[in-house]
């Protein structure tokens, strides 16, 4: 076995997983204060959404500008359950509802009193929404910019719907002030650490799922759909079903991320699910490298971390920095930072034409709008 195949082979993947698990589960909790660890937990939630975007956009070519919708569905479902669980036993009405109306709990809140229903709904509701939307659009061969606009409009509509119904959704404040998480106090540092561990496990599981999908026959078909959808159709496959599946998987990942975001961060508001955060997530993926397995994860974490630390030093400077970084990446590094090595090698080779150009292993990006 030569070194190269060792590094890209199966042992490298297992090693990478173990390394990531050790870093996140042992090193981070030991080094970081509980506050910074909570922030890292939040970044991990964004990274989960990014894994899904990497699959749908990087591999499937669907420019998903509205993942905030699925993130929000998961988050609000979880938040509704936590609010109902916190509500005084005498009335069963959450605090914010009692404050502005006397109508009681809306009927569509009632199922989420049950923890089991909530956990199922966090997975099923985003998946169903994505399947319905995916079939409706991909069957009609809506793609490219039209699909992007559609998904973005959906995020805007979702945020407006939440803001417009303060009696049932908390309006622009959103839902917050959660006391417990399935009976465990959220104020206890031990429980918060547990939540962080759950987020790490969920992220690692999602990366594993994404890798299995990428190396499978299905993964090949998905890339084929991205690069030449008509040819896939002529070969007898159904591109709509192939793309819908990836879209649904991405939606479930976003939904689970939202559901974990709620107890970790302690609040969910329309500002976290609308167009701006949806695009922010996408920027992280683009910067990290959308076609790779780990690029989206690292990109999302890096962008979220940069946002926190930059805004601590230069209030309002972050928005400009984010836009500039995005433009630089799109203009000079379309494959994201993950392609930095090969791109630099390409430049070096161009400067020294005598050396034959090395074949790069970055998946093609053509047609991946």
């Amino acid at each position: 076995m030569n070194l190269k195949s060792f590094l890209t082979g199966r042992w490298a993947v297992v090693g990478g997983f173990v390394l990531a698990a050790v870093l996140l589960l042992v090193v981070a909790p030991a080094l970081l204060t509980p506050f910074r660890l909570g922030l890292l937990g939040k970044y991990l939630c964004f990274a989960m959404v990014a894994v899904g975007i990497g699959l749908a956009w990087g591999r499937g070519g669907m420019l998903v500008l509205g993942q905030g919708v699925f993130f929000g569905l998961g988050a609000y479902i979880m938040a509704m359950h936590l609010k109902l669980a916190d509500a005084p036993a005498s009335t069963g009405v959450p605090d914010f509802m009692a404050l502005i109306s006397s109508d009681g709990v809306p009927f569509w809140w009632e199922p989420f009193r049950s923890g089991a229903v909530t956990l199922v709904a966090i997975v099923v509701v985003p998946a169903l929404a994505a399947v319905l939307l995916g079939l409706a659009t991909f069957r009609r061969r809506v793609r490219g910019a039209y699909f992007a606009i559609l998904s973005q409009a959906l995020a805007a509509a979702f945020a407006i719907l939440l803001i417009g119904n303060p009696r049932s959704t908390g309006g622009s404040t959103g839902l917050n002030n959660f006391k417990g998480f399935f009976g465990f106090s959220l104020r206890d540092p031990a429980n918060r650490l547990t939540l962080y561990v759950i987020a790490v496990v969920a992220l690692l599981a999602m990366v594993a799922v994404a890798r299995q999908l990428m190396v499978s026959r299905y993964g090949e078909l998905l890339v084929a759909c991205r690069d030449a959808e008509e040819r896939v159709r002529f070969l007898g496959y159904d591109p709509a079903a192939i793309k819908t599946f990836a879209y649904a998987v991405a939606a479930v990942m976003a939904g689970v991320a939202g559901a974990l975001f709620v107890p970790i961060v302690g609040i969910i508001s329309p500002n976290d699910v609308g167009i701006v955060p949806s695009i922010g997530l996408l920027i992280g993926v683009a910067i990290g490298g959308r076609t790779t397995l780990l690029g989206p994860v690292l990109g999302a974490i890096a962008v979220a971390w940069a946002e926190t630390s930059l805004s601590e030093r230069f209030p309002s400077g972050w928005t400009y920095a984010q836009g500039l970084l995005f433009m630089l990446v799109v203009a000079f590094l379309p494959g994201g930072l993950a392609s930095l090595g090969p791109v630099l090698r390409g430049w070096r080779d161009r400067l020294r034409p005598a050396v034959p150009a090395e074949k790069t292993s970055v998946p093609s990006l053509s047609g991946g709008s």
Binding site: G174, D188, A190, S311, P315
Partner: protein, 417 residues
């Protein structure tokens, strides 16, 4: 990694998570868990002490909250120049709330746990306050919130230096009743402050024989008011009670004037329009309309003259001073008074010492209520004049004791339930 090893990893990790969950986590019912996190990391051993300013420096609220930041900064500079608090200079740690509740919550936690500030000053929207409240309660820290709000709240970790409803909305209703208003039309933005305010207004109206002829809400940022204004016109109420916030006011008052409605025939009493906003709405659209606050730039007192002069010196002659800015400025001095009375920066000592702490503020004398953490302040109804400033038209005469849950008003029974 193949599927089976992935599964194994997930299984092991899930199992360890379960062990963690069942092993050492406190249950919700276990109240002692909350005490552990309350330990403060505030460092008061040196010659300076850190305080946090948390205002939206970016986003839609930046235009308003920057003015609050400026007043807080002015107060801190003055206090430092005069020798600091208990001999310690104030070091400001400023954070941006970015007009987003989630960011407010995160930055509040950062200021408390990361920077170990002795107290935090800031917040504007009720959304931002409600987002920060659990953070301050679970960390047992202090927030000074400088904006009038909808009441029905009282946290031992928040000091509310703006008006609560019985110091702004109830006096405004008294004023309209005195002026002979027999019917009202309610217009507001669709969020927690206008909704709660209107709930209170309707209870007051019912008890005082005032008819509410209509209640209309527009989403925040909404700018098409033709439908709402024609409804207002058709209803023909004696006055309009306006709880719109932000840009919507510009569109509403333009439309109101276009529809031929005037301040004389059907006054619009607003509770979110101060000196800062008048310029944006356009003086011609709003001149003569009444507003309800506790402070105007035109208040004739030595304290206010000094405050206005200092502010203009620091930030330019064109700047105006408004109620939330004054309440923010006052909040820092009240905190100073509390620390000096308690002879301690510790939260528990300040909470104990807070009751009765008083300050000769630009708005007049204000006194902290130790039970509900609001302050007694004088209600002032003003009228907007041609020069863009607001002049007092009616005053409650003396400071009104804060009553956030309206317990002393029989008509309000059942509102806080």
């Amino acid at each position: 990694m193949n599927i089976s090893s992935a599964r194994r990893l997930v299984a092991v990790a899930t199992a360890s998570a379960m062990v963690l969950l069942s092993g050492c986590g406190a249950r919700v019912s276990d109240d002692t868990a909350t005490a552990g996190e309350g330990t403060s990391c505030v460092d008061t051993s040196g010659s300076s002490v850190k305080i946090g300013f948390l205002n939206s420096r970016s986003g839609t609220m930046a235009i308003s909250e920057n003015t609050v930041y400026n007043s807080l900064k002015l107060a801190a500079d003055q206090i430092n120049a005069a020798g600091g608090v208990e001999g310690k200079q104030l070091t400001i740690v400023a954070e941006d709330g970015a007009s987003e509740p989630t960011v407010f919550a995160e930055k509040a936690e950062k200021l408390i746990r990361g920077d170990c500030v002795a107290a935090v000053f800031g917040g504007w929207t009720s959304s931002s306050r409600k987002a920060m409240l659990p953070v301050f309660e679970s960390n047992n820290a202090l927030l000074f919130y400088p904006v009038q709000y909808e009441g029905l709240e009282s946290s031992k970790n928040i000091f509310y230096t703006g008006a609560t409803t019985n110091q702004q909305i109830v006096p405004a209703l008294d004023y309209l009743k005195e002026k002979g208003a027999k019917s009202l039309f309610l217009v507001g933005s669709d969020y927690v402050f206008p909704q709660t305010a209107n709930k209170i207004i309707k209870a007051y109206a019912k008890a005082n024989g005032i008819e509410v002829k209509g209640e209309e809400y527009a989403p925040l940022g909404h700018t098409d008011f033709s439908t709402i204004v024609s409804k207002v016109k058709a209803a023909g109420a004696d006055a309009v009670f306006n709880t719109l916030n932000g840009d919507s006011n510009v569109a509403f008052f333009k439309e109101y004037k276009n529809a031929g409605l005037t301040a004389e025939a059907m006054p619009v009493l607003s509770v979110s329009i101060a000196e800062e906003e008048v310029g944006g709405i356009g003086i011609g659209n709003i001149v003569g309309q009444p507003v309800a606050w506790n402070y105007y730039q035109t208040i004739d007192s030595p304290q206010n003259k000094k405050f206005v002069a200092d502010f203009k010196t620091a930030y330019g002659d064109a700047k105006v001073t408004s109620d939330p800015m004054e309440a923010a400025y006052t909040s820092l001095y009240l905190w100073k008074g509390m620390v000096e009375k308690a002879k301690s920066f510790a939260v528990a000592d300040i909470q104990k010492a807070a009751g009765g702490v008083s300050f000769e503020a630009p708005e007049g004398t204000v006194t902290v209520n130790g039970d509900n953490h609001h302050i007694a302040k004088t209600a002032l109804i003003g009228k907007i004049a041609q020069d863009g400033l607001i002049y007092t038209d009616w005053t409650s005469g003396k400071p009104i004791e804060p009553d956030p849950f309206l317990k002393s008003y029989p008509w309000a029974a059942g509102l806080s339930g």
